[in-house]
């Protein structure tokens, strides 16, 4: 735009110059016998315009320079002194939840900002559900403006809101300058709580803990809750005999109690780069963290010890098994940080775990098993050698990555990929099955229930019991 302004000014200048040239051109034409005075009778008079045209252009030129000086002063002096504060109503939320963001901009200087376009940069991982993250406004000297919007966390992770992008434009669209103010705020988005909610709802509806086989949680043992009376066998310890019942029934009866034993479980999630494939916001890793969050929730409910480990080529995050609400939140926050990168190194991860966890425990390994097969087997061997009891949940990659086909050609392609994938998975499963370790393939639809099943099974059999 400034170009257009200057264009007019220089147009005036060169017009003035050409008027002088015109005088010589006219005299030349007349000398050559061409008389243009029938067309332009006052052509020679307009030469006297030249200095006045220069005045015309001069006034515009100086006005332009003055505007530019004012603008550059605004950019140099006012913009860096703007005070920007961002308030986030809740900086730790679950995936799918809302939070409100308010940005306040205060101009403490003596100069007005004529035309400002403010944009609060929001990463793609959030949806703006109400309001707008940008505004076009003028900020007077000493004035304050405020914009607000409501965000919905669409993807798990640790996300930064900001920086604030300020574009200052001259009122006449002549000049523009863009500055990025490094005002950043962190929002930690935990994996979706919806699965947990679903579980709670199902539990309420079914009147038990979980539907079907998952209701059988209590087992016999030396707890305090009464289970049943049964006949005495010779192998039973004498202290278990209920003398009153024996006297009443005329035969020796034994009192049985529910077991009070808890298990120790580690959620081991592979965060190698292949786990990041799938649909945006619905990658294998996203599903894995959701499943992990659900297991953590269940373990917390049942007083089990639970820990988490995120690994790829190195161990990115590790939380030693513990229990309680605070620990659960800590685990969720770790799950939120999972980012797909590097190549899976299961043996390394297991060795790391051995250093911190000397006792037996149950491992739920969620991995797509797309790294070296021998390394996976090696990792399993090391785990078993140290009394870790792993179960591997494998998100089946084609189901996560290839959309349901609409044409028959794509259908064939998908089938072919699926067959090849299953062949490889079967080979790996067979290798691992030799060590008595279950490999459970999972699709996007059932990954949650598969993980749940693995956990319930471990709980029933007291795998990794303390």
């Amino acid at each position: 735009m400034a170009g257009v302004y200057l264009l007019i000014t220089f147009f005036g200048f060169f017009f003035a110059l050409s008027l002088y040239q015109l005088k010589y051109l006219l005299s030349f034409l007349m000398a050559s016998g061409i008389d243009v005075r029938f067309l332009f009778p006052r052509a020679l008079d307009i030469v006297s315009f030249a200095p006045w045209l220069l005045i015309f252009s001069g006034i515009l030129l100086f006005a332009f320079v003055l505007s530019y000086l004012r603008f550059s002063m605004q950019v140099r002096v006012t913009l860096p002194r703007l005070e920007i504060t961002r308030t986030i109503s809740n900086s730790k939320i679950f995936q799918g939840e809302l939070t409100s963001v308010r940005v306040r901009i205060y101009n403490p200087t003596l100069f007005d900002l004529d035309r400002v376009i403010l944009t609060d940069m929001v990463p793609d991982t959030f949806d703006i559900v109400f309001g707008e993250n940008h505004i076009e406004v003028n900020i007077p000297a000493g004035g304050e403006i405020e914009l607000a919007y409501i965000l919905r966390a669409a993807a798990r992770g640790v996300h930064m809101i900001g920086p604030v992008n300020i574009m200052l434009i001259d009122k006449s669209y002549f000049f523009a300058a863009t500055v990025e103010m490094p005002v950043l705020s962190e929002i930690r988005v935990f994996p979706s709580y919806r699965d947990i909610k679903r579980l709670e709802m199902t539990q309420k509806m079914m009147g038990g803990f979980l539907p079907g086989q998952h209701t059988m949680f209590k087992i016999k043992g030396s707890g305090y809750d009464f289970h049943q009376l049964r006949q005495f066998y010779h192998s039973d310890p004498l202290k278990l005999i209920d003398w009153k019942a024996s006297a009443r029934l005329g035969k020796l009866m034994v009192r049985e109690y529910h077991g009070e034993r808890v298990i120790k479980i580690y959620i081991v999630i592979d965060t190698s780069y292949t786990m990041g494939y799938g649909y945006r916001r619905f990658t294998k890793l996203d599903f894995a963290t959701r499943a992990g969050a659900l297991v953590a929730y269940l373990a917390q409910k049942l007083q089990d010890f639970f820990g988490v480990m995120l690994f790829s080529s190195i161990v990115h995050n590790f939380v030693k098994a513990g229990r309680g609400r605070g620990h659960f939140m800590h685990v969720l926050s770790i799950l939120a940080e999972a980012e797909p990168e590097g190549v899976a190194n299961l043996p390394g991860a297991i060795r790391y775990l051995i250093d911190y966890e000397p006792r037996s425990c149950f491992l739920v390994i969620i991995s797509d098993l797309e790294s070296d097969v021998n390394a996976i087997v090696e990792g399993i061997k090391i785990a078993l050698a140290h009394k870790f009891r792993p179960t591997i949940i494998v998100p089946m990659s084609p189901l996560f990555e290839i959309p349901p086909p609409r044409t028959s050609l794509k259908q064939i392609f998908r089938e072919a990929v699926m067959i090849e994938y299953m062949r490889r998975l079967n080979a790996i499963s067979t290798k691992i099955a030799r060590f008595g370790v279950r490999v459970m393939p999972a699709s996007p639809q059932n990954i949650i229930s598969v993980v749940l099943e693995a956990y319930v099974r471990a709980k029933q059999r007291m795998i990794g019991a303390i």
Binding site: V137, Y149, K171, M201, Y279
Partner: protein, 383 residues
């Protein structure tokens, strides 16, 4: 909650009144500008400019006529009529019934007896340029782009100088150098420059202000509708099951087959994979309510009511621009010319000092010095 909606309506009405006022100011200022130009030039130029349009129209009709004539020719020949004169007249009647034109002019054009002098053609061209500048200015009023005014200004300048040379304008310029300030300011070109400056400053600002208002009213409309939906429920009827299914599918990036969707919905009994917009909106209501006392503040901030542009500052900056910038620009221009005059007197033997090119160099020099000085002062004073 209805309070916010009525507040929004009130704000919007207030903004719209301002918008209309600004546009009226804009039109008035530009009309004054054209009034001055009209005073300089002979009013016949405007009509000649319009004649270009009718000339173009005539050319277009001539093309249509040739098509009609050929068709009539075919029709006449196929019905064994070979009278060319009758066919020509019939085609002319058809064309006349279509366009209601000056048949004689078309006839002249077709017969090649159309007389147009070069002088007239040139006048038409210059007049047309003036009309073109009007169109540019209308666009400037409507869209608020100062660049359109600039282009119109270039056309006006070119047309004015051309018209002056042809003797159809009467631009008052006194002999150079002027002896008094009054003599300097009374010249047409200086007045035109000042008017141009005022139009840029005033109309540019007003155009900016009206653009901002326009953006704001649109924002209020957009968000007001959202607020209405959130707080008072959807006005439109509930979505049908099919629409709802579609909404879930489109909201979810992962597309499931019908069985998978059913399974997912069945799981837990209530929840779908993705929330529908209604569910999200109900959550928004929940969030707004949970904000408690800040509720009013956040709604005002979201709707932009807490950042409505301050128009008093805009108007103030217009006045400041006129009071400071304009006299300063004129003074600096005079300074540049005085310097040119002094240098011309000091070195009379040099031919260059008497040419406008030299004035241009002095101008550039003063601009550069002024800019550097301004920068230094600003940095020292404000850091």
């Amino acid at each position: 909650m209805r309070v916010y909606l009525s507040l929004l309506k009130r704000r919007k009405r207030m903004l719209l009144i301002k918008y209309m006022l600004f546009k009226i100011f804009l039109i008035t200022a530009l009309a004054a500008y054209y009034l001055y130009i009209n005073g300089i030039i002979n009013s016949i130029v405007w009509l000649k400019g319009l004649a270009v349009l009718s000339f173009i129209k005539l050319g277009f009709i001539a093309v249509v006529f040739s098509v009609v004539y050929s068709l009539t020719l075919i029709a006449a020949f196929s019905s064994n009529v070979y009278d060319y004169n009758a066919i020509y007249l019939a085609s002319m009647t058809i064309i006349n019934s279509f366009f209601r034109i000056d048949v004689a002019a078309l006839d002249n054009l077709l017969a090649g007896t159309f007389i147009l002098s070069i002088n007239e053609l040139l006048l038409m061209l210059l007049g047309f340029m003036l009309w073109l500048s009007v169109l540019f200015n209308i666009s400037f009023i409507a869209k608020g782009r100062v660049s359109h005014f600039m282009w119109s200004l270039a056309l006006i300048l070119l047309a004015l100088v051309g018209l002056e040379a042809m003797g159809y304008a009467n631009i008052a310029v006194s002999e150079w150098p002027p002896t008094t300030i009054g003599g300097f300011l009374s010249n047409s070109m200086v007045i035109l420059a000042i008017l141009t400056f005022i139009v840029i400053e005033v109309c540019g600002n007003l155009a900016y202000a009206s653009t901002i208002i326009d953006g704001y009213t649109k924002k209020i409309d957009r968000l007001g509708k959202g607020l209405h939906e959130i707080l008072l429920g959807k006005v439109s009827s509930e979505n049908t099951i099919r629409e709802r299914e579609e909404e879930i599918r489109s909201a979810s990036k992962l597309r499931f087959g019908p069985l998978a969707t059913l399974m997912l919905r069945g799981y837990g009994g209530v929840y779908a994979l993705e929330e529908t917009s209604e569910e999200v909106l109900s959550k928004v209501v929940g969030l707004l309510r949970s904000e408690g006392e800040q509720n009013a503040e956040i709604i005002e901030a979201v709707l932009g009511l807490r950042s409505i542009p301050r128009f008093t500052t805009t108007m103030l900056s217009i006045v400041m621009g006129l009071l400071i910038k304009l006299p300063l620009s004129i003074l600096l221009t005079l300074l540049a010319f005085a310097l040119v005059g002094i240098l011309g007197r000091l070195y009379p033997e040099l031919v260059e000092v008497r040419t406008p090119a030299f004035a241009l160099i002095v101008f550039s020099l003063i601009v550069a010095i002024f800019y550097i000085l301004g920068g230094i002062i600003a940095r020292k004073k404000f850091g």
